[in-house]
């Protein structure tokens, strides 16, 4: 009987401890977020929010533009790879090799990808830091994610879709493009949003590819000019790289405020995309029955 009672006691204690730990971590993560946002609000001033001089508007623009460029590269490559794996690769050893490669690429430390980008896109092309090099390196990091999402999405589509399309006389490729891909687009979109969110926060990939500074003029929209925001061959620091750069070479008197504000904007961007992807996912689940 005694043993029984101590077991019950242990159960109660363990439950209490587990509640405590769960609450502690939720509180910790919440306070980190609130702290960042609070410091960001404190630091915000019209001067720092502007698109010139010290303002982090430049970095905000760079972050979004770089991630956008990167997705232009990531999405087609990732989607084609995913389609190949889901529909054409079969079950042989080739798909096992590709799967291993994707797994490997997706778990590389981002600094390694950054160094590879530095080697190939900067050193071997004899160019200076530039946006395009950053976007390409970021693409390497995100291609596995899109490829896997696409493959999963296409595999989850009922077999009857495929059979129906083939029975109507389409080829396999036509089926892939017009039926399977179309049905998987929402799920792939979720992956794309995830990839974007990851891109916003990534810094180690970018410090040696797109560089740690930018010198642009928002009145100059000629894409071939080196000070134009649109020129992909100019150096560009994103919000996250900006925080790192301030830590390593911050000399301005208000560098602390700049970093606080950058961190807050970064968090808002990442959270917005993360919540967006969740909302999309929920929406899809709700509509799944109607397809």
């Amino acid at each position: 009987m005694n043993k029984n009672r101590s077991a019950k006691q242990a159960d109660r204690v363990a439950t209490g401890v587990l509640y405590g730990i769960a609450a502690f971590f939720v509180l910790l993560l919440a306070s980190i977020t609130i702290y960042i946002l609070y410091k960001g609000v404190l630091a915000a001033s019209p001067d720092l929010l502007s698109f010139s001089g010290d303002g982090v508007g430049v970095q905000l623009f760079n972050t979004i533009y770089l991630v956008f460029l990167s997705l232009l590269i990531t999405v087609p490559i990732g989607m084609f790879t995913g389609i190949y794996m889901a529909e054409y690769a079969g079950k042989g050893s080739l798909i096992a090799v590709i799967r291993t490669c994707i797994e490997t690429l997706s778990s590389l430390p981002s600094i390694i990808v950054g160094l590879f980008g530095f080697l190939v896109f900067i050193q071997m092309t004899h160019s200076k830091w530039n946006l395009l090099a950053g976007a390409l390196s970021l693409a390497i990091l995100n291609i596995p994610l899109i490829a896997r999402t696409t493959e999963d999405a296409m595999r989850s589509i009922p077999r009857s879709y495929y059979d129906g399309s083939i029975a109507l006389g389409s080829t396999r490729w036509q089926t892939v493009v017009h039926v399977l891909l179309k049905a998987s687009i929402p799920q792939i979109m979720t992956g794309v949003i995830l990839a974007a969110g990851r891109g916003f926060g990534e810094a180690a990939v970018l410090i040696y590819t797109s560089g740690m500074s930018s010198d642009i003029n928002f009145n100059n929209w000629n894409p071939t000019s080196i000070t134009s925001p649109l020129n992909p061959f100019r150096p560009a620091d994103t919000l996250s790289v900006h925080i790192w750069a301030i830590k390593t070479e911050g000399i301005a008197a208000n560098s602390q405020q700049i970093a606080d504000l950058s961190a807050a904007m970064l968090i808002i961007l990442v959270f917005a995309f993360s919540l967006g992807s969740r909302a999309l996912g929920r929406h899809l689940q709700k509509n799944a029955g109607e397809i």
């Binding site: 439950t15 690429l105 390497i140």
Partner: protein, 313 residues
């Protein structure tokens, strides 16, 4: 064009559009996606090849032995044209200590969180805690580094009465918070994948919830939990910026948790840009990058082995 016979001509005309059409509707697309499938393999091989090539210069051009690189603590590589010593043991041990200690902090909490979500309160778990974990996986590492730098480092300096708070402890805590959601998510998946019969049978035998969790669930979910731990370790080991911001970056062998040191990732990040390309210093950094790559391959293999074990269960 001349044709040998009328029959030959008709045959060609019949075949041509058909092939053309088949090419347009099937083979072109198939070729396109196959190229990208192959491209992924080439990309992975290129990364391995290039980093291997750059990383080998320390040993091939400067004649250092691999043993010196791995086990010597003499870090004094030459700048352009000069030659020195390239012992990277300080950084290797630094990386191992920081990530090992971070794992030690994060794992018990992560497993506790997984138990809470899967068995104590699945309702709060799935509605609230899972989304929270997923969101926090996405917080950029520089942000963690920045909070570590502005909050944790001064705090440690205060509590332990140090001139600076930059230390292994600061780095480990920052990394632990970073990898906690990763380990917790994977461990939760593993716990939830255990068939309900296990739980029911255990309850039927009269065990309490804690006995059921401790003796049955944790044990059966172990390979999955280990996968989570290895994933966390891999992330900790490869994390560059957050660690570099708080570890102190001093070339000094770890002698206590409160001493500053340096890690592989931090030393690469900080110095790759200000060393001359092709100098001994620069080449030694590339060797470290290659070492980092090999270690992350090791983690991938480990995860595969664990995955196979999970499938056997």
């Amino acid at each position: 064009m001349a044709y040998a016979s009328d029959k030959d001509f008709t045959q060609k005309r019949l075949n041509q559009p058909l092939l053309n059409k088949k090419w347009r509707t099937e083979y072109a697309g198939r070729t396109l996606v196959t190229i990208f499938g192959i491209f992924i393999i080439l990309l992975a091989l290129t990364i391995l090849g290039f980093l291997g090539y750059r990383g080998s210069a320390t040993f091939l051009n400067y004649g250092h032995s691999v043993a010196e690189f791995l086990f010597s603590t003499n870090w004094n590589p030459g700048e352009a044209g000069q030659s020195g010593t390239v012992g990277a043991a300080i950084f290797i041990v630094g990386s191992l200590t920081v990530s090992g200690f971070a794992l030690l902090i994060a794992t018990p909490f992560a497993i506790a969180m997984a138990i809470f979500i899967s068995d104590i309160s699945p309702k709060i778990g799935s509605r609230f805690l899972r989304p929270v974990l997923e969101i926090f996986v996405g917080i950029p590492s520089v942000v963690y580094g920045w909070i570590g730098l502005t909050v944790l480092v001064p705090f440690i300096a205060n509590v332990f009465n140090l001139p600076f708070g930059f230390s292994v402890l600061a780095a480990s805590i920052v990394v632990a918070v970073m990898i906690f959601p990763t380990i917790a998510s994977v461990a939760t998946d593993a716990m939830q994948a255990i068939p309900a019969e296990y739980r029911d049978a255990s309850y039927a035998l009269g065990s309490t919830r804690w006995q059921m969790v401790w003796h049955i669930k944790l044990r059966s979910a172990m390979p999955g939990i280990l996968t989570g731990i290895v994933l966390g370790l891999a992330r900790a080991f490869g994390e560059a910026l957050a660690v570099a911001m708080v570890v102190g970056q001093s070339t000094r062998f770890v002698d206590s948790l409160l001493s500053p040191t340096n890690t592989l990732t931090a030393v690469i990040t900080a110095n790759m840009g200000n060393t001359v390309n092709g100098s001994e210093y620069n080449d030694a950094l590339w060797s470290m990058a290659f070492l980092l790559l090999l270690i992350s391959f090791g983690f991938i293999i480990l995860i595969r082995v664990l995955g196979r074990k999970r499938n056997e269960l």
